[in-house]
Symmetry: C2
Subunit: 141 residues, 2 copies
DNA sequence: GTGTTTGCAAAGTGTTTGCAATTTA
DNA sequence: TAAATTGCAAACACTTTGCAAACAC
């Protein structure tokens, strides 16, 4: 919404090695506004249109991957055939509402993995993803 | 490989409410042989061809979903755009080798989730999936 | 015989890519 | 102006679907 802190977003992009083009600036402003979001390319494209940010769907896809490579976003995999991107870079996990497709964060403090498994030789852990899949409670009364 | 215990597979399908057709029997024999497998539709289709089981790719897809609905298989979601099916029905988790796409099991005894998160009201946990993503160790010598 | 299942080909969904035109530095 | 970026449309990978023919019971 604010128009001035453009400089901040420009700085972020520059430091990520990405030229601050009109499209990247617009998408970065939508994504990196400090709120935690779980968004698909289509949703972001729609959000851009709604905010008068002209950008093609192809560029949205490319930009999401560039942001991911630059460490500005993470990918969350909870269902086949659809990629979600997560603006929360801190350690955390996810609830996935199977009914609605909604994703919400589980703070790292609320989950704790004890007893880590023995890691195969020659490999190292990239990350550990925990997805708690939820369904609506069915009440029969 | 064995030809006689067909009766066993027929029984499994019958109890799952699925007619034991030639295609389902063939696929069930490949899948439910007691080993733990993580397989895609394409891979299963190829395996069927290699074993002289005539079945179309569309039927492989349909059969995998029928088996899943019947509780004979589980779906594992580790990468977007590809569905893996898991013949291991006991509680366990997964290693995912990002480099190769390979999936292996983590026995439930080797991982332990403490302190479960607070579940949103009106929902119940369907399942908890843990994916430990691995990369090859990079050695610089 | 009747309802189920199959296979094909077509359609669908989400994503990536080649390339000319445009923009950035 | 040289290199990076964009947008389009086409290609892509994977999956689902409609429907006539084949099959199971």
């Amino acid at each position: 919404m604010s128009d001035r802190p453009f400089t901040k977003v420009i700085k972020i992009l520059r430091e990520a090695g990405l030229r601050p083009t009109r499209q990247r600036l617009g998408l970065a402003k939508l994504l990196l506004d400090g709120t935690n979001q779980h968004i698909t390319a289509e949703e972001l494209h729609k959000a851009a249109q709604d905010n008068n940010i002209l950008v093609s769907l192809a560029t949205v896809y490319n930009t999401l991957h560039q942001f991911k490579s630059a460490g500005l976003l993470r990918e969350v995999i909870v269902e086949p055939g659809r990629a979600y991107f997560d603006t929360n870079l801190s350690k955390h996990h996810h609830f996935y509402f199977e009914q609605t497709g909604e994703i919400t964060d589980i703070p790292d403090s609320q989950i704790n993995i004890e007893r880590l498994p023995h890691i195969p030789e020659g490999t190292s852990i990239n990350c550990i993803d925990v997805v708690v899949r939820l369904s609506p409670v069915i009440r029969d009364d």
